[in-house]
């Protein structure tokens, strides 16, 4: 079988001290959406940080497009084609929307106007507000800025850490729609979500983590249909 675009295989490690992840495996295929769900403290964000290199792994391997990137720094991974949207502090608040996008493209030496145009097409509200400081936008709009910033490097994989945290249900639905659109352009998406049910609905692949280990792994629909997953993690 061919390697997925991105795979963190049998990852074990923590922030020094005890391990948080125990042989945890996360992967995403090209143009697909993979979602990590699980109870609080299950190590969802930690697993994502491990894939992005913000956490030192004791065991296991991370491969991007078949290449071993386990020893690379997060910055080097960005250059290799990974985009990361942190959960909080994910924009430059005093800079305009347009400047935020420019900073996203900082490592690019070529002309990035086309990419910015694509981001504006994807998030039309950002075009409207492009001269406004990003810190003055609403929560949902800021998340769009954050995702747009990460898209400026034309990543092959986009990683989102709880993109819908703290936004209203309507905005959440809209954000999920946008994320599906991003995936349709061929970019693989890996995200951590609190809103497990809605996230699994759009997921091609779902990972249910418990205490830093894989508990269930299946397509989003199959996990939603699994009575055990429903009972334990989706509230019936």
């Amino acid at each position: 079988m061919e390697d997925p675009v991105l795979i963190g295989e049998a990852m074990t490690g923590g922030y020094g001290g005890a391990d948080i992840l125990h042989s945890c495996t996360i992967a995403v295929e090209k143009g697909q959406i993979a979602v990590i769900v699980g109870p609080n403290g299950a190590g969802k964000s930690t697993a994502m940080k491990a894939v992005f290199g913000m956490l030192k792994l004791r065991e296991g391997q991370v491969r991007l497009g078949g290449e071993d990137i386990t020893s690379l720094s997060p910055q080097a991974r960005v250059a290799k084609g990974m985009g990361f949207v942190p959960q909080t502090n994910n924009i430059f608040p005093s800079m305009t929307v347009e400047e935020n996008l420019e900073m996203g493209a900082f490592i690019r030496q070529d002309n990035f106007r086309d990419t910015m145009e694509q981001v504006f097409t994807l998030f039309p509200i950002l075009r409207e507000k492009r001269r406004q400081p990003a810190g003055e936008l609403s929560g949902g709009q800021r998340q769009q800025v954050a995702v747009g910033r990460a898209l400026m490097t034309k990543p092959s994989v986009l990683m989102l850490d709880e993109p819908t945290a703290g936004v209203s249900p309507i905005v959440m639905d809209e954000l999920f729609d946008r994320i599906i659109e991003v995936a349709r352009t061929g970019i693989s998406i890996l995200m951590v979500e609190q809103n497990a049910r809605q996230a699994l609905e759009i997921a091609d692949k779902g990972y249910v983590l418990v205490q830093g280990a894989n508990r269930f792994t299946d397509t989003g629909q199959a996990l939603l249909a699994d009575p055990e997953v429903r009972k334990s993690f989706l509230g019936g």
């Binding site: 997060p74 910055q75 960005v78 250059a79 990361f84 942190p86 502090n89 994910n90 924009i91 430059f92 608040p93 005093s94 800079m95 400047e99 420019e102 900073m103 996203g104 900082f106 490592i107 910033r149």
Partner: protein, 336 residues
Amino acid sequence: MDPLNAIVLLANFVIVPALAYGSQLALGALGITLIYGILRFSHFAHGDIMAFGTAIVIMTTWGLQGAGITFGVLPTALLALPVGIAATILYLLAADRTVYRFYRKVRAKPMIFVMASLGVMFVTNGITRLIIGPGEQRFDDGTRFVFSVRDFREWSGLAEGLALRSAQALTIIVALIAMVLLFWFLNRTRAGKSMRAYSDNEDLALLSGINPERVVIITWAIAGTLMVLAGTLYGLDKSFRPFTYFQLLLPFFAAAILGGLGNPLGAIVGAYVVAFSEMGITYAWRRFFQHLLPDDWAPAGLMQLLPVDYKFAVTFAILVLVLIFRPTGIFRGKSI
């Protein structure tokens, strides 16, 4: 009643001097605010490094004068500026390499940086006194006045006169050019934007591939340039003495905090507010009101709120009031 004379009087003794002083403070406060925004600490060595840079400018000026080179109607010190700026930037980068970089690497708390900058301040203080001595130096040459009190009286026929000294005009013009260039750099260039991004959100800037060491070097270079400009212009306008320059630290910080730390526009506004407050509160307003009010209403006292010796008390009061009532400053900078 003679409002025209009152305005001319005020311009001569308060407005023009405060504009010049405010411009000098603005250049210093801009450096403070940039360093605070990007390196995230209060740079206490600012006044003394300004004295160091100015000392280099003065000695270069003497050298040029000794060689018979002058700048016509303009002060020779302007020709010496590049030497002073280069020396100061090198000095700041050396301080960064030997002192601050270590604390950046271990991610020390801001207070430790402040203490380190205090150490740099004492060292610089000693170096400046070694190379030029603790005494007062005057190094202005060229034309002294754009127009003098007598010129103005003859031209206008008013009882009160207004003088504009070349150093004051030069200060205002140079400060204006420096500010425009700085804002152009910060808002229009890639390097400037990366500085603002780093100041806004350090982690995200790293994630975006912005090299922090490069940002730090650019910041020191800009702050050093602004310091030498401020110091040289202050010295031309008044006079140079290392201790006076150290004392300027208080109005610099007052201006930067009043405007909102980390906000360049705030530093400029804050600087002029501090300058006008110092001048306005220590000015004897009697003659002004004699011109403005009917004769029998004229005030008997000096109408001076505080003696000139207390001008730093005004600045200190502003600083305390801002910290109590609006710690983020006028333009909502970073809270300290």
